[in-house]
């Protein structure tokens, strides 16, 4: 464990930068524990506070800027891809759209604290037409707030890290094995959740070719467009004859949907 701590102290800035960049770019590597540890190492005078905060913030904003530009170029498709590969896909797209629509750029201030929303918010901000200057301002402040909070928390508990280091020295390599096992269990659980979610979605979907054939044959089907109003920015058209309904209107407007025929739903 001492070797690991020495490695972190020696290469801390680079590791921190790459780790935060990786997480914000969409990799399933939580950087919160590392920022907490960095805060603790600041408390032990092993790392410099300004460098830690600045590097981590720059890493976060850099990754976000990349997604913002991709969102601007490719629209909601990027968000869909991001949510597919993320470990929190079940609420990713819909939650992100709702939050951005509700609070605008201010939602970026607290985005980093919300799992799933953190990585998905920048491409949606880009797709939704937010100006680059506005995005950079709010994203920088949000990243600074996120990094600062975690580092400060780690700093406050820096003496506990000393105790942890003392215990870990006694446990030796077993602690490393334990930590790796915990990380593996976390990733395995998330992967299982994601597989179940994808399996549920795959059940009873109608292919576009079949729907087209049925429409051309004049069959009675009801098509419901559940895209979020922000998606209309990228393309305001619908499928022929689709009933447009906001996702949060399902409760109050479901009576408009006929019960005597098949209903086809779609979002982005």
């Amino acid at each position: 464990m001492h070797e690991l701590m020495d490695f972190l102290v020696a290469n801390g800035y680079l590791v921190l930068f790459l780790w935060v960049l990786g997480e914000q770019a969409g990799l399933p590597v939580p950087s919160a524990p590392l920022l907490l540890a960095a805060g603790a190492l600041i408390g032990l005078h092993k790392l410099d506070a300004a460098a830690v905060v600045l590097l981590s913030t720059v890493a976060s904003v850099s990754a976000d800027l990349l997604w913002f530009r991709l969102g601007r170029r490719r629209g909601a498709k990027v968000l869909n891809f991001l949510c597919k590969v993320s470990l929190e896909p079940d609420s990713c797209v819909r939650t992100t759209q709702s939050r951005i629509a509700k609070s605008g750029p201010r939602s970026l201030l607290l985005a980093k604290f919300i799992p799933g929303f953190s990585t998905a918010a920048p491409p949606l901000a880009g797709a939704g037409g937010m100006s680059l200057a506005r995005f950079l301002l709010f994203d920088f402040l949000g990243s600074l707030l996120w990094v600062g909070s975690l580092v400060l928390l780690g700093f406050a508990f820096s003496h506990q890290l000393e105790l942890l280091a003392a215990y870990s020295a006694r446990l030796g390599a077993w602690l490393l094995v334990l930590l790796l096992a915990a990380l593996a269990a976390f990733l395995w659980r998330k992967y299982g959740q994601r597989r179940r979610f994808v399996k549920d979605l795959a059940v009873a979907r109608i292919p576009a070719e079949e729907l087209k054939a049925r429409l051309e044959a004049g069959e009675a089907v009801t098509i419901v467009d559940l895209r979020h109003p922000l998606d209309w920015l990228t393309d305001p058209r619908t499928l022929p004859g689709a009933l447009r309904m906001k996702p949060d209107e399902i409760e109050e407007r479901n009576q408009e949907i006929p019960r005597d025929r098949e209903v086809i739903l779609y979002c982005t």
Partner: protein, 51 residues
């Protein structure tokens, strides 16, 4: 959403595979509602995506 509608008594409900983009990218027919109010976005952004 499909599950939510099933709970509301709409038993025959299926999501469209590929969603909106899956349909559009195949070049299948689309419809533009002239009465639609699109939320405000960056000028030119909409045109770039619908051209």
């Amino acid at each position: 959403m499909a599950l939510k509608l099933r709970a509301k008594g709409i038993k025959q409900v299926r999501p469209l595979a590929g969603g909106f983009f899956g349909w559009r990218d195949k070049g299948y027919p689309m419809y533009l509602d002239p009465a639609l109010e699109v939320p405000k976005g960056r000028p030119g952004h909409l045109a770039a995506h619908t051209a």
